[in-house]
């Protein structure tokens, strides 16, 4: 589904990603862990198409297309979704209006008829129920004044509405209380199917107990320096990153 080869990316002339390789197949869940500043959010932004990042080398193909040639909205149309580490507040745009516009824009991209108001509201209620989102939040301006946890939950709610092929969750678990974490994880599990895939960026293995990953990768200084099964997350939690870094240096 997604193939990243030798990806180099920089911002303001500062190289951040330095030869990253990653392949994700349909139906898989991948987790990326790594110290602060290692480039996890950068990777997520590059995948979503943030223009401030310049790709200097390497390639990204998604479902057979060169992702780097597509605008952010086209990537969303192809099925990429990024749950932001820091969701943006947009005063004056209600969540409902925003989601209806987004959903129908994506449907248009895919050659589907737009949903009318009734169909849309039905879908909205259905998904809100799964994620136990208070519907009063939908009438408010997008993320404005939302608590940290509400913002994160709203990201996953948007994901549920837009049904992406590849969802990238950038530290969605940070800032969620224990119950919210379980609800969000269950939501993700309900959406999992053989056609889609998830890339979960996290610092904690707790979320990975709910959403069992097929692979865990360690990102360090712009490269993936170790990949293993889900047991790696537990090991990192107890031992930290130093031993992986040491391994990488020894191997290099």
């Amino acid at each position: 589904m997604l193939k990243i080869e030798n990806l180099h990316a920089q911002i303001d002339n500062k190289p951040i990603l330095k030869g990253l390789n990653l392949e994700i197949r349909a139906g898989e869940v991948h987790a990326i862990m790594g110290p602060n500043g290692s480039g996890k959010s950068t990777l997520a932004s590059v995948l979503a198409g943030k223009e401030a990042y310049e790709v200097t080398e390497g390639s990204i193909t998604f479902l057979g297309k060169n992702l780097l040639e597509l605008a952010p909205e086209e990537r969303a149309g192809e099925g990429i979704f990024l749950a932001f580490q820091h969701p943006i507040e947009i005063p004056g745009v209600t969540t409902t209006n925003f989601l209806k516009t987004a959903l129908n824009e994506i449907r248009k991209y895919r050659g589907l008829e737009p949903l009318d108001a009734i169909q849309f509201l039905k879908l909205l209620k259905e998904k809100a129920k799964i994620l136990q989102i208070d519907e009063s939040l939908m009438k408010r301006s997008l993320n404005e004044g939302f608590s940290g946890g509400e913002k994160k939950r709203n990201e996953i709610f948007q994901m549920a509405m837009l049904e992406p092929r590849l969802a990238i969750l950038d530290e969605t678990d940070s800032g969620l209380d224990i119950d919210a974490l379980r609800i969000v994880a269950e939501g993700v599990n309900k959406l999992r199917n053989p056609q889609n895939a998830f890339l979960i960026i996290t610092h904690f293995q707790r979320i990975l107990e709910y959403i069992q990953p097929d692979f865990v990768h360690v990102l360090y200084e712009g490269k993936i320096i170790k990949s293993a099964g889900k047991e790696l997350a537990k090991e990192l939690e107890t031992k930290g990153y130093d031993w992986v870094k040491a391994e990488a240096v020894a191997g290099a």
Binding site: A48, G49, K50, E51, A52, A71, P72, E73, R75, A76, G77, F81, L82, F84, P87, I88, I90, P91, G92, V93, F98, T101, A102, L103, E105, I106, Y109, S141, Q158, L162
Partner: protein, 412 residues
Amino acid sequence: MVATEKKFQDTFFTTESEKSEIRQKAIHFLEHLQIPTPKNEEWKYTNLKGLQNEIWVLAQNPTDFHAEQYFLADLPDTYLMVFVNGFWQEKYSVLPTNIELCSLSEAEKEGKLQNFFAKKLNLDKDYFNALNTAFAKNGYFLRIPAKVVLDKPLLIYHLSSGDKVSYLQRNFIIAESHSESTIINLYLSEAENTVFANEVTEIFVAENARLSYCKVQNEKNKIYRVDTTQVEQLANSYFGSYTFSLAGHIVRNNLNVLIEGEYCETLMYGLSFLKGKSHIDHHTLVDHRKPNSYSNELYKGIFAESSTGVFNGKIYVRPEAQKTNAYQQNRNVLLSEQASIYTKPQLEIWADDVKCSHGATTGKLDEAALFYLRSRGISETIARNLLLKAFAQEVIEKTPFEPLQEYISNLL
């Protein structure tokens, strides 16, 4: 006086034998006043040179003008007045019966202006106020008697016809005690003619009266417009001003509110959304002269292409005006490298027990927000539009008449 002023002024000059004392006074002031240039601090960013380069003729009352073409289906169920080149087109009027309304000349003839004519207007230093006071013959006198509550807004169309025409208009609105009304002015043109218009409106809001006064400026012709709205508020009154500037070659709005009574509420909202080479200059003043009043001003601007905005907001709090609450904000978004905004808040506070604040911001459209929307599949054009509407919404939603809110939203 220089020759150019003389030429410009002569367009309006009338030779009636009988001129009231105040008009004579204005003519006298004109002798030492000039069309302001950028050397004048109050006109630093608005250059009227173009005004002096044209040869103007005094606008006539057109006989074959079809005002209906401008009527908005979006604003049904209102009272109606129509002005073309400042001339009142009475055949279109739809008016309530419980008000007093007549033309400027009739009001002047019958002595109705006595207590109001240039009562609080700056004549000796303001060229256009003096010009208007000296020579304006057209306009209306509207009195909303005590306790009268208008059941519908009064919609006033201001239209123009003819090329290189100039005109003056002078209006009076007397909102008597406990009256309530909403007036909506629409300045519209889809033509390509060149017009100079100067309008002075003197508004008196008596004790406990409430008046909402809206302006939509959307003249796409080559308009030079200098507008002065001079307001006096007495105790416990409410005055709300809502100015939407969507087009205009060179437009200068002076909005002056003098708070002459206690416990007044004054709201001043503005939204400019300009394209092309439009130039809009808002000069506002709220002058707290008595204690315990509240004023709040929010002007927002979105400037695209080569448009220019000017915002100068003055708040005066006089020594006597203790316990004043006065707030002002000016927020701008520049959509292109060629667009510009000159913003200057000016607070002068002589009282000590007051709450005042002001702020001005200018920036580009929020790139992070734009990316967020696009990452959800929303095309760049629609995403920009959503953000601009959201920015404008804060002002639009304050507007008193819901169909007007929708009309403006749809124009953006």
